[in-house]
């Protein structure tokens, strides 16, 4: 066990006789431009609009340049800034903020140009250098968050995450793992196994390791499944009975669901296509996600930091003649995940996605490197939770695919063939 990432103790168990506490979400999006900013924040980018005519960077998001009425475009910006003034909000009529007072805000002179109103980490005073993060709040809106910074040594993402989860205000933007109960839907595959170990090391209270059948005798003395704080349970996302039974056997409320289940098989649509294999891929990836989401959403919605994280293949972005069934299943999975995210907005449950390219496991033996090591994927999942980042791409293949897809989806679909 390494030191848990999150130094804050988990919340005390609630009085079972008290009415459950509702979890209102932050106020909703204000404009289309703000939605566009949120879409980029979801990718972990720090962006501001800049004028295509005069180059002025601007905030808050708007539809035209406030200086020259020129057209605005989104650009990654330097993340540095300086606190001009700070304040503490002690009274609010908004139910979300009222539950979380006092709330620290301040004005920041960004290195990128504009002066912005931002959430402040505790202890920031006027004159302090800060590093800005563009976060998503629990309502899914983009929000600027200022972290303390030494100008010469800006915090690494890892440090930033530690600061965020240690700060009562920052904590609302991320998904704390320390003290949480986490379900990993398929802990039999290498990725799920690595994740179980990583979650236990990160201080999760309980890691429920789902084990799809068939169950070999070695399950009984598996070192990962025997780790303290790990509860192995049979779980097959293709079986509604199994999903219901497994969830009923988890001791205590469930905070985080991580869906690692998938069925990777090669094969095309007409040529070399095994329809039963395609069907199985859809059952696991798409229907499995739906079963897991249906069964866990009400539980997650009752938790202060509920989250559903799905690990999916970047093949979801376009068809692939070499893995037609798998690509179709992952595309269906992505679609269901996006619908599920919209459903969950009003509950404050974060729905996160981690895209990966081929992983270094038996499913992808035929493929040449680069491949994502299971341990690296597990670390990326923990980082996505720690940063509260909605969309993460792990490894060169996934990052490059996402970049090309964002750039030109039609061209990407033509080029993406084995």
């Amino acid at each position: 066990m390494t030191t848990p990432r999150n130094p804050l103790p988990p919340p005390a168990p609630r009085d079972p006789l008290a009415r459950p506490q509702l979890h209102p979400v932050a106020p909703g999006a204000r404009s289309r431009a703000m939605q566009a900013m949120a879409a980029r924040a979801a990718q972990g980018r720090f962006v501001l609009q800049a004028c295509t005519v005069c180059g002025t960077a601007t905030y808050p998001p708007r539809d035209a340049c406030p200086r020259c009425w020129g057209t605005l475009a989104w650009h990654d910006q330097p993340t540095g800034g300086r606190v001009l003034a700070n304040t503490v909000i002690r009274v609010s009529t908004d139910p979300y903020f009222r539950d979380r007072l006092p709330w620290h805000m301040g004005s920041i002179q960004l290195d990128a140009g504009p002066v912005v109103l931002a959430h402040l980490a505790r202890g920031l005073e006027p004159g302090a250098r800060v590093t800005m993060r563009l976060m998503l709040d629990r309502g899914g809106n983009a929000a600027l968050f200022a972290l303390p910074s030494d100008a010469a040594h800006p915090p690494q993402p890892e440090q930033g995450a530690t600061i965020m989860s240690a700060d009562p205000q920052g904590r609302t933007f991320v998904v704390p793992v320390a003290g949480a109960t986490v379900l990993v839907s398929d802990a039999r595959q290498p990725v799920g196994r690595a994740l179980v170990g990583a979650l236990a090391a990160a201080g999760a209270r309980l890691v429920v390791a789902g084990l799809p059948g068939p169950a070999p005798m070695r399950d009984a003395h598996d070192p990962v499944l025997g780790l303290p704080g790990v509860q192995p349970l049979p779980l097959d996302v293709t079986d509604p009975v199994s999903v219901a039974e497994t969830i009923s056997r988890i001791g205590g409320p469930l905070d985080i669901v991580i869906n690692t289940a998938r069925h990777v098989r090669a094969g095309g649509v007409s040529h070399d296509g095994n329809l039963l294999g395609h069907h199985r891929a859809l059952e696991v990836s798409a229907m499995g996600l739906a079963r897991l989401a249906q069964a866990t959403a009400p539980i997650l919605a009752g938790r202060p930091s509920g989250a559903f994280l799905d690990v999916l293949s970047v093949k979801a972005l376009a068809g692939d003649a070499g893995h037609a069934g798998f690509a179709a299943a992952e595309a269906a999975r992505l679609s269901l995940l996006q619908s599920f995210r919209h459903e969950m907005r009003s509950t404050g449950v974060r729905v996160l996605e981690v895209f990966t390219g081929p992983t270094d496991d038996a499913d992808h033996q035929a493929l040449p490197p680069p491949k994502v090591a299971p341990a690296r994927l597990a670390a990326a999942v923990l980082d996505a939770l720690a940063q509260g980042r909605e969309q993460t791409c792990v490894g060169e293949v996934a990052r490059e695919a996402m970049r090309r897809w964002l750039d030109d989806p039609a061209l990407f679909a033509r080029e993406t063939q084995p």
Binding site: A215, P216, M217, P234, D236, P240, V241
Partner: protein, 260 residues
């Protein structure tokens, strides 16, 4: 004839003839046979509710079920195996109704199987068994009582080790003896397959499937309660679903036996 059936019904009613359920419950967690991963796999039983006195059906309850033909307690028709592909009436829909009812002989291998999960039933074992119990009569189901059904619900039922499944079964000579010398109707077992767990490594691989079905005989798998049956004197009723061109079928198997 009427009096015979009337007598049967009367004896069933009085309890003089007992009906024993030889089927395991069809549930999503009942293990299915696991083939090497390069082959297509046996789908386990799945059930999703269509309605249960709710908005989708206010007064009725029903489910959608999916499974392989060889899931749960099931019947193997001759066409299940390549050796039986040309056997007339070799698919479940074509099996004659007359073949649904036959007497059974129960051969107890539970002690041997408990001592050795890979216990192989040989011709010598069967001949020795006959010397102790009497000859196996023709046109009988041969039921191997291994007590494997008592492992259902534990990892030890499939007994999947790193080198594959380990469970008892017959070798080729034993199967030829049962089929040709004893004219058996078929072989019924408590394990997930009529063949031993390691039978794909036998000198003649998968002899039960190969020899039974090549000679138009049947298989019954995942049976239970064989320990309640007498060695001789029970009658098996095993009627598979009438699936067009089907290779097998889940089914309810019952045994009729005189109450001692």
């Amino acid at each position: 004839m009427t009096s015979l059936l009337t007598d049967l019904v009367a004896q069933l009613a009085s309890g003089a003839i007992r009906v024993v359920d030889l089927a395991n419950t069809l549930s999503s967690d009942f293990p299915v046979i696991v083939l090497p991963s390069e082959f297509g796999q046996c789908e386990p039983f799945r059930m999703e509710t269509v309605s249960r006195y709710d908005a989708d059906g206010p007064a009725w309850y029903w489910n959608r079920i999916t499974m392989n033909e060889h899931t749960g307690t099931h019947f193997d028709a001759p066409a299940h195996w390549i050796t039986g592909r040309d056997v007339p009436h070799g698919t479940v829909d074509a099996v004659a109704p007359r073949d649904f009812v036959y007497p059974a002989v129960v051969i107890d291998i539970s002690a041997e199987a408990a001592a050795d999960a890979d216990f192989v039933v040989t011709r010598a074992f069967l001949e020795d068994w006959e010397a102790r119990h009497g000859a196996i009569p023709p046109r009988h189901w041969i039921l191997l009582r291994s007590d494997w059904s008592k492992r259902v619900g534990t990892l030890a039922y499939l007994n999947l080790q790193d080198d594959g499944a380990h469970s008892p079964g017959p070798d080729a000579d034993a199967m030829r003896f049962l089929v040709h010398a004893r004219d058996c109707v078929g072989l019924g077992v408590e394990t997930v397959g009529t063949d031993a767990g390691q039978a794909s490594h036998f000198a003649e691989p998968l002899p039960a499937h190969s020899i039974l079905h090549g000679n138009g005989r049947f298989g019954l798998q995942c049976l239970t309660n064989l320990d309640q049956l007498p060695t001789f004197g029970s009658v098996i009723v095993a009627a598979p679903l009438k699936i067009k061109g089907g290779s097998g079928s889940p089914l309810r198997v019952i045994a009729l036996m005189p109450e001692a």
